[in-house]
């Protein structure tokens, strides 16, 4: 039985449907990230679960019980927000304790639990401080402690790391999963940062325009996005998207990019003649000095370092911009001028242009010779998670 279950939840505002026929279940001890751009309906979803907002149709079930009509206090839901929302006139200790006073617990029962959660979050030394004396990181941990102290069945976190600095955000990203798992709550974690979603979550719920468009393990969302607009939200630099029309060619299909014909291998025959979008991750592209079969001539325009890589901006001869990333300047240290781009047919993504849905290679067909089937590679990667 799932700790949290949503059945066909819908909520509209004057501007339209904020949450549209959404179903979802989260187990105890599971961390599910709710990811999407602003306006996708993420926060409304949390408010419906918490009981702050009522859905016009559908059910919210907690621990197997329908709580749709229950008031927020009795649902056993803890919440923390990006703006911390601490009571300014109360010490950190009292702020955390409010998470229990609402449940009717007496002071003797409260102290050991506040102390325990403060210790776990490493804020014991600031429990006597007022919120204005706390750093953003300490405020964020205090807000989290308040949400966790009553051992809620459901923990809702609304972009809690948004307002802490990059360094602390990174540290918290490393530490949060084990802290949250220890709480035993079913956790819904709202974020707009795909890396945070991938790092923290067991599963990611991708929301676009009020609808859930994909629910999967992080690596599956990244490697096998259900739609082109999901592919665009995962990865930095962003995936390249080129309009193509696959054509049948011998054992497989080819596409033509800037007058160069490139083989995609077998398995996409059904897409022949259809308008498609070819998705190329910058990491999967290779920039070469000399022209050879199936390489696309490009003009390198600029190289912008990103983390330990170089992001190369280039233009095909018909003016399409493409980003590739490399660990070293690709061609003798040169990062501008003519070069040749090679794509790896086994790591391309193909989407149907009209619907935006990803096309899968048909099973049984061997992809490009010499390499394992992409699905097998992905299954192997998932096993190692």
């Amino acid at each position: 039985m799932s700790q949290l279950e949503l059945r066909n939840v819908t909520k509209s505002f004057r501007t339209g449907k904020a949450v549209d026929d959404l179903s979802l279940h989260v187990d105890a001890g599971e961390i599910v990230a709710v990811f999407g751009p602003s306006g996708a309906g993420k926060t409304v979803l949390l408010r419906i679960i918490a009981g702050i907002q009522e859905p016009e149709s559908g059910e919210v079930r907690i621990g197997g019980r329908n709580v749709t009509q229950d008031s927020p206090e009795v649902r056993g839901v803890g919440m923390a927000f990006q703006n911390f929302a601490l009571f300014p006139h109360m010490s950190a200790y009292d702020n955390v304790a409010t998470g229990l006073t609402a449940t009717g617990a007496g002071p003797d029962a409260i102290k050991p639990r506040v102390d325990a959660v403060a210790k776990m979050l490493k804020i014991t030394h600031v429990m006597g401080h007022m919120p204005k004396e706390l750093s953003n990181g300490q405020k964020q941990r205090t807000a989290l402690a308040r949400a966790l102290v009553a051992s809620p069945k459901i923990l809702l976190l609304d972009d809690p790391l948004r307002n802490v600095d990059a360094k602390l955000r990174y540290e918290m990203r490393l530490e949060l999963p084990s802290l949250l798992r220890r709480s035993g709550s079913a956790v819904l974690y709202v974020t707009q940062d795909y890396r945070e979603a991938m790092a923290l979550a067991d599963r990611i719920v991708v929301m676009l325009g009020g609808r859930v468009v994909q629910i999967d393990k992080p690596e599956v969302v990244y490697d096998q996005p259900a739609r082109v607009d999901i592919a665009r939200l995962f990865g930095d630099p962003t995936i390249n998207l080129l309009p193509v029309e696959p054509a049948r060619n011998g054992v497989g299909t080819t596409v033509t990019i800037a007058n160069t014909r490139v083989h995609l291998g077998a398995g996409f025959e059904a897409a022949a003649g259809k308008s498609c979008i070819l998705g190329l991750r910058p990491d999967d592209l290779t920039v070469e000095e000399e022209q050879s079969a199936e390489t696309i001539p490009v003009d390198l325009l600029a190289s912008t370092p990103l983390n330990e890589r170089l992001v190369l901006l280039m233009k095909t001869l018909d003016g399409q911009e493409i980003l590739a990333s490399a660990t070293e300047p690709p061609i003798g240290g040169r990062t501008t001028g003519r070069a040749y781009l090679r794509l790896d047919p086994n790591s391309i993504l193909l989407f149907e242009a009209a619907s935006g849905t990803r096309l899968q290679r048909s099973a049984g067909d061997p992809p490009v010779a010499g390499l394992g089937a992409p699905e097998a590679l992905i299954a192997d990667a998932v096993k190692g998670a």
């Binding site: 600095d165 912008t304 190369l312």
Partner: protein
């Protein structure tokens, strides 16, 4: 390369009634070459914005000189400096459309009407604001305003371009392409640019050289590569790099005829029994303490003589981030291949001496970058 912009002994003090003055910029010396792109990088209050505003002419320097293209500009008003700007406090004119705002920057130049229209269209396409060219500034989003004012600055010829957080509000999907286009524009036209940012990703992407500032003091002025490989001090070392450098306080200990580094509360680095490499002996001298640093990308995770308990292992689609408990803190290792280990397990790791940085334990000044003395 002749310096286009030269800052000499530049100081800025803000005097506040009844309080001690704030020394926001301290004896800053900097040369920026023709066509160079420079980032002023630091956290809030580091002095980067005061520096930019002094160069622009919005703040008066308390002392020191600023020269641009061979002339001293200290006493010139902002409009007389031939500097193009995109920043807060220099906003778009509300009564003019975005197109008119951008074209206005070309008014004082002798550019034909058709040429002006073409330039506006080109720069608008570059920053992707074509659909809003005929809108008014107050009716567009903050991010669009930012791009419009960037376009207004870049559309005209100037001796220097000053940009304040030029891409702070951009949607992530646009960032990489826009960074590339702007860098290409600046490079192709040999435009000299200084931009302020608190975001090192932005600084790394665009700048030829980065001026790292802290407490009003220029800590280091070097390329992104040099800042990472040869940080001048512990501040720069731990500020630059995502995720930041792992640092451990260590004791320098003679043992078994060689010198080893004992990480406080952690493992002892004896480098396969050979002790510290020869080039370090002179820089270590008679020190008993030193800070050892290693970048996450240089930690060998999954192999090596040391072992630590894994706290987390996160795969981000293209990188593994593994954190393990070493010396009471987290040792972070980043790898482009997937590392297979679970929280709670032990993971082997290693540091190669050529990847370590040594710093003085008291002053934080760099002692060695890999095997090379600092």
């Amino acid at each position: 390369m002749a310096a286009t912009l030269a800052l000499r002994d530049l100081n800025k003090l803000y005097h506040r009634r009844g309080k001690t003055p704030v020394h926001a910029v301290k004896s800053l010396n900097m040369d920026v070459g023709h066509g160079e792109i420079v980032a002023l990088l630091g956290s809030s209050g580091c002095g980067k914005t005061s520096t930019l505003r002094m160069i622009a002419g919005f703040e008066e320097a308390s002392s020191g000189t600023i020269s641009l293209a061979g002339r001293s500009i200290n006493n010139l008003p902002p409009s007389g400096r031939n500097v193009a700007m995109a920043f807060e406090g220099y906003s778009l004119y509300p009564p003019l459309t975005v197109r008119e705002n951008i074209a206005f920057a070309l008014k004082s130049t002798r550019v034909s009407r058709t040429e002006a229209a073409k330039r506006v269209a080109d720069i608008a396409a570059l920053v992707e604001i074509e659909p809003i060219l005929d809108r008014y500034p107050l009716s567009i989003s903050g991010g669009q305003q930012q791009r419009a004012s960037l376009a207004r600055a870049l559309v005209r010829k100037a001796d220097l371009y000053l940009l304040d957080e030029p891409m702070g509000q951009l949607e992530p999907q646009l960032r990489s392409v826009l960074r590339g286009r702007i860098k290409n524009l600046l490079n192709e036209n040999k435009m000299t640019a200084i931009f302020v940012t608190h975001d090192q990703t932005e600084a790394n992407a665009l700048a030829d050289r980065i001026a790292v500032m802290e407490g009003g003091v220029l800590q280091q002025f070097a390329s992104e590569k040099d800042l990472k490989a040869r940080p001048a001090n512990l501040f720069v070392a731990t500020f630059i790099g995502e995720p930041p450098m792992n640092v451990f306080e260590s004791h320098v200990t003679p043992r078994g005829g060689v010198t080893v580094l004992d990480i406080d509360g952690g493992p002892s680095l004896d480098f396969g029994g050979a002790g510290v490499p020869a080039p370090w002996r002179s820089v270590l001298g008679s020190r008993s303490k030193v800070v050892v640093g290693v970048r996450p990308h240089k930690v060998a995770m999954g192999t090596g003589p040391f072992s630590a308990k894994v706290v987390s292992n996160q795969w981000l689609g293209d990188q593994s981030h593994v954190a393990a408990e070493v010396a009471g803190k987290l040792l972070v290792g980043v790898s482009a291949t997937r590392i297979r280990t679970m929280p709670g397990e032990a993971v082997a790791y290693d540091f190669a001496p050529q990847d370590l940085q040594l710093f003085d334990a008291d002053t934080g000044v760099a002692l060695a970058h890999g095997l090379e003395p600092a």
